[in-house]
Symmetry: C2
Subunit: 343 residues, 2 copies
């Protein structure tokens, strides 16, 4: 029933009404040169009177420019996207795209079917470029993405090598800050909960933390792998406590996991920060409202989104913007205060 779309006026009708050729009309709506003032005005009037809006599909077909880019979030964790991290990225991406006339296609590729669609999307020129986030290490998508001739910007490095275009946060440096903070505040039995290590982010954070401790000569008590989710963090904390003598500091590769760990610590009757100091990673809104408020490595998530989009736009326009590493810093709150706590 709804299937008889009111016919929209076409460029031909505009041209006819304005008494000019379609070519001229086209020039006007794209405000290209080589149109006399008179005709230009005539066309503009006709456009107004008819309520003409160019059909983007037809434009796309003729120009071979779709006018859209995709942001693909690829992961195995179906719930991962719920992490406010992505919302923040999207806000950044969206803000940058708003300056252009590119639409944003969002693709959650966490099921086999979703991946197929992403693959198809990549091959079919349905978008002018792609931003790819959260690739697992063995994800074939990265390579696929690079094979296509579409510009692809990675959000965070894939494990499969350094792509031509990417923007990432300084994960390694940030994790190192966490280590240094622990050392500085007198913690000597630090442990860590990582993300999936087949992920570049997780690996970089693990590496940075280890490095930081090594430099200070403090041994790492233990490491457990989480999955960036809260429940994963809680479980990892259980394992950590079971396997190792009481740690006095914990660094997690994400705030979500820190929150999970806090839960476990509370259950176990361990006090934060008195018994265990905790540092997370991300510093999104939720970190401010844990009990106690979370000390965490801050990364500029919105900027990350913004820069990804900008880089992609640049690439589409034929520039070759280099990769970009965004700085991280430590946000100190009560879960790992600046001064050593009396235990």
């Amino acid at each position: 029933m709804e299937s008889s779309p009111k016919r929209m006026p076409t460029l031909d009708e505009v041209a006819q009404r304005a008494g000019v050729s379609r070519t001229a009309a086209s020039r006007v709506i794209n405000n290209a040169p080589h149109v006399s003032r008179a005709k230009r005005e005539a066309v503009e009037r006709a456009v107004r009177e008819l309520g003409f809006v160019p059909n983007p599909t037809a434009q796309a077909l003729a120009t071979r420019r779709v006018g859209a880019v995709v942001l693909a979030v690829s992961s195995d964790e179906p719930g991962l996207f719920a992490d406010p991290f992505f919302a923040e990225v999207i806000v950044g991406v969206s803000a940058a795209l708003e300056q252009t006339d590119l639409e944003l296609i969002l693709l959650l590729a966490n099921t086999p079917r979703g991946r197929d669609r992403l693959e198809r999307l990549l091959r079919s020129r349905r978008a002018d470029g792609v931003m790819l986030m959260a690739l697992r290490g063995d994800d074939p998508l990265g390579r696929l993405a690079e094979q296509t001739d579409l510009p692809v910007v990675f959000g965070g490095l894939p494990l499969t090598g350094e792509p031509r275009w990417y923007v990432d946060a300084d994960n390694r440096g940030g994790a190192r800050l966490a280590a240094e903070h622990f050392v500085r505040t007198g913690r000597r039995r630090p442990a860590m909960i990582t993300g999936q290590l087949d992920t570049q982010v997780a690996a970089a954070r693990e590496r940075g933390f280890t490095e930081g401790l090594a430099l200070a000569g403090v041994p790492l008590l233990g490491v457990e792998a989480g999955d960036f989710t809260e429940d994963g963090g809680a479980a990892a904390m259980e394992r950590l406590l079971a396997a190792h003598p009481a740690p006095d500091a914990l660094f997690t590769a994400s705030d979500a996991m820190a929150i999970g760990a806090l839960r476990t610590l509370r259950t176990r009757g361990l006090r934060v920060p008195e018994d265990v100091a905790v540092i997370g990673f991300n510093d999104l809104a939720s970190a401010r409202h844990t009990a106690p408020p979370l000390t965490t490595v801050h990364q500029p998530v919105r900027s990350l989104g913004r820069e990804m989009a900008r880089m992609l736009v640049g690439a589409i326009e034929g520039n070759d913007p280099g990769p970009l590493i965004l700085p991280t810093r430590l946000t100190v709150r009560e879960s790992a205060p600046d001064v050593p706590t009396e235990a």
Copy 2:
């Protein structure tokens, strides 16, 4: 430099290689009837050999079906989208769309420019349908959306009247549950922090709460308007405390505002739930991790997204799925426990 896209094989080439007409080839890739088995196989082979993928733009132009729908989030609060609520909606929408071959275009229309784009999008047949969320009361977008002949599904009722298609949570009923819970647990001085009242959600929640109290004969101590954000909630709480003698219960129209209110209460030295019981609305992940964990009205956010998408798909296909109201329920946690607390 990137501007010379490797030419993709076209349907013509496939047809030629398979020794059939383009018509036949087209039928095969759309697996339409009226193609002999032999030709079908020939075409399939050619497709495989050439790595042919149909060009969606050309298909769209020919069929007048774009193969994409947009999810527009319209608001004045630039930060609103960061609310995990939307992430959850998107997950639902995305899950539903995955069953179809529709792409999801995400549009954050929180700036004037963004609104322009949305308007243009609506007029230009760049999508086959639209899901619209978080309209402000006076938002002209709603009406605009209905004027276009594109199917439009609303997420949450707009104030401007009941649209043909929408899905909403039972906000009024949920708020009523909160009121009843307070009454049942002996609270007699309840206050409320609402959202922007020019918003249907906020209005419905306010109304439900008021109603619930009225039915039990308990007077509402005071009301302050927030803006669905955490900071707004904190500020509203300040005003509430300044304007009214100590409330013993607080209902907020969102978890975010509840979290803000908790902060203020803590600062003011008021204990939750002993001095003030608190109930929020939404029940997303964050509600579990406040201190104390938040009692809140649960709404099935992911389902909301899923159902919006399903409804839209139905509408696009020419059905007329009626509106849908999703149930809400109370999730009881420590901020407003089931048994009256000794004060």
